[in-house]
């Protein structure tokens, strides 16, 4: 392992550095520009430095109600996160056994990633529109009277987001259980642990850092989702949808301030998740087995 680094290493390092610059450069640029002075425009130079555009954003300054869109996306993201963790974990456990239809379920899950989002979104929209028609025409009076729509953030919207986050959740579960040493469970079982005890005291403590990772996927993918959301959110748009609408209408750095705020939430969630994973890993190695150690 001590041989001299080849020229290829330096060339590839440069390539990688440029790739990282390409990934992060633009984000850094709008981060800087969101602190544009009150008279500044959409591009450099900076006309002074201020939080003017953030203040304008908070004040709601004429553009759509960003505050409530922000809150809606946050709530939806949290619900999606919890459901993604729980359902992926259960499905991950199921796939370790053989069960009827497991191949089909796997196929459908992967298909959900691959089928264009706009198609899924259209399908869910049709489903709920037809459901609305059925309720209005055939539903009992106490439901049908004054009934508007069954479409909403937490019905059709939630479902649409889950078809996007759950496949990632399951793939992460596969990665976890492919590396999972089944002898731990067998040992627990040999000592007379019930299946529930094995899960609760053996499997879960080992995989919990990875479950945080699943939750991270669940929240961030929901927080930024647009394509699947586009047809199914009913009357209340989520934050990224509002943002997309603003790209054509807002021509001030306010949109950068909004971008910076949104990205900050993403980064905060990522940081908290990575920190939690690190803590949990450290705890595991502290309390872990000392077998084989001197």
């Amino acid at each position: 392992m001590n041989e001299v680094r080849s020229p290829a290493f330096y060339a590839l390092s440069l390539f990688f550095a440029l790739f990282v610059l390409f990934l992060y450069g633009p984000t850094i640029v709008i981060f800087v520009l969101s602190f544009q002075g009150p008279t500044g425009g959409l591009t450099f130079p900076l006309n002074g430095i201020s939080v003017h555009w953030f203040e304008k954003l908070m004040a709601g300054g004429g553009i759509v109600d960003i505050g409530s869109a922000f809150r809606r996306s946050l709530e939806l993201g949290l619900v999606v996160m919890v459901l993604t963790v729980v359902l992926s974990l259960l499905a991950g456990l199921a796939f370790r056994k053989r069960f009827f239809g497991s191949n089909l379920l796997f196929f459908v899950t992967v298909a959900s990633l691959i089928v264009p989002s706009i198609v899924t979104s259209l399908g869910i929209a049709l489903e709920f529109r037809l459901l609305d028609d059925v309720i209005k025409n055939y539903g009992p009076a106490w439901i049908a009277d004054g009934f508007q729509t069954s479409m909403g953030n937490f019905t059709s919207g939630l479902g649409a987001h889950l078809t996007w986050t759950l496949p990632f959740g399951l793939l992460v579960m596969f990665a976890i259980f492919n590396r999972f040493d089944g002898r731990f469970e067998e040992a627990a079982r040999d000592q007379g642990a019930t299946p529930w005890q094995t899960l609760r005291y053996v499997i879960l403590p080992i995989i919990v850092p990875s479950l945080v990772g699943v939750g991270l996927f669940g929240f961030t993918l929901s927080w930024d989702e647009i394509a699947r959301s586009s047809q199914v959110m009913g009357e209340h748009n989520t934050l990224p949808m509002e943002l997309q609408g603003l790209t054509t209408t807002v021509t001030t750095p306010e949109i950068y301030a909004l971008g910076t705020s949104t990205t900050t939430v993403s980064f905060a969630v990522i940081a908290v998740a990575l920190f939690a994973i690190g803590l949990l890993r450290a705890r595991q190695s502290r309390f872990g087995s000392d077998a084989g150690k001197a």
């Binding site: 390539f15 990688f16 990282v20 390409f22 990934l23 633009p26 984000t27 640029v29 591009t43 450099f44 359902l87 992926s88 259960l90 499905a91 456990l93 199921a94 370790r96 056994k97 053989r98 069960f99 497991s102 379920l105 459908v108 899950t109 298909a111 959900s112 691959i114 089928v115 264009p116 706009i118 198609v119 259209l122 399908g123 049709l126 489903e127 479902g159 649409a160 078809t163 759950l166 793939l171 492919n178 469970e185 079982r189 299946p195 094995t198 899960l199 993918l221 930024d224 394509a227 047809q231 990224p240 943002l243 997309q244 790209t247 054509t248 950068y256 971008g259 949104t262 993403s266 980064f267």
Partner: protein
């Protein structure tokens, strides 16, 4: 890997998988079936009418025979979308493979490897629209790139084609979706038995021979999975085309969205079925090259 003993213990697998499966039944399978059904319905200005007619398909392919040898709208749209698929595929494959190769074979410490991989992953967890908007101050008429080029006398007039153009759409695709190449290819590379590399090295292979004769063939599963992701995303995209193309560039996904904003559901559904067919065709070809399930 599954142990045979597990079957005899605990809750049956299908019960555990049931909630997961129900989500996909309710929000994926039923919707797709409805898309196919509604694509054969009739419609008027304000509602869809249950029927079994091919009106939406006929309208979608309008002029495809009569206009020959000129191409009809839908073929032009798909051709243009396919062109973007090809460009973005080539670029993301090259960049993604190079980055994954560097991470997997040139970074020796496992911690550094994970940190650098995370660096590539984090943008994937942030908003795509914001990452698109971020190019405006760089590529705009008065953006940094133009400012720099004019300042250094490379050009006299600011370039107009940097933003809201085919160029910016392709650039944004590469920017947003190279991760879908990096992750599976990196995963494939990490699973290559290092003894194979040593054996090649001991047999006198140069670094280039190692790359082309050992690593590339063994990375094929990752390459195939990444390619499927990238190609299907570009095929079905409408947001990137919209935001980065200045609403000027047609795409297969946008064709659906346009019909939807006019509340014409049956034609939108017919276009969705056509898009699905095109996408499945591509995947079928790719699946011939590699069995995805086996490689996870």
């Amino acid at each position: 890997m599954p142990s045979r003993n597990l079957d005899r213990f605990g809750v049956p697998g299908w019960v555990q998988a049931l909630p997961f499966g129900l989500v996909f039944a309710l929000f994926f399978i039923v919707p797709l079936v409805l898309v196919v059904i509604v694509s054969f319905w009739n419609y008027n200005d304000y509602e869809m009418l249950p029927a079994f007619i091919t009106r939406s398909y006929v309208e979608s392919f309008d002029g495809c025979l009569t206009k020959l040898p000129d191409l009809c709208t839908i073929f032009k749209t798909y051709l243009s979308t396919a062109k973007f698929c090809l460009i973005v595929w080539v670029l993301t494959l090259f960049i993604g493979f190079t980055v994954a190769y560097y991470l997997a074979f040139y970074i020796r410490s496992q911690t550094t490897q994970m940190v650098l991989f995370l660096v590539c992953t984090i943008p994937f967890w942030t908003s795509n629209v914001i990452r698109m908007i971020s190019w405006i101050p760089l590529l705009g008429r008065n953006g940094l790139v133009n400012q720099f080029l004019v300042y250094s006398h490379v050009i006299n007039q600011p370039l107009e084609w940097l933003l809201y153009s085919q160029f910016s759409v392709a650039l944004a695709f590469v920017h947003l979706f190279t991760f879908f190449m990096v992750a599976p290819i990196f995963n494939s590379m990490m699973r290559i038995d290092r003894r194979l590399i040593e054996a090649a090295y001991d047999s006198g292979a140069t670094a280039w021979q190692m790359l082309t004769n050992v690593i590339m063939p063994l990375s094929k599963p990752g390459i195939a999975i990444g390619s499927i992701f990238v190609v299907t995303i570009v095929m079905g995209d409408f947001i990137t085309f919209d935001v980065m193309g200045g609403e000027q560039i047609a795409s297969a996904g946008k064709a659906i969205e346009t019909r939807l904003s006019a509340l014409q559901f049956p034609p939108a559904a017919a276009n969705a079925v056509i898009l699905l067919g095109a996408t499945m065709l591509i995947i079928a070809v790719m699946n011939r090259i590699v069995d995805i399930r086996k490689e996870l």
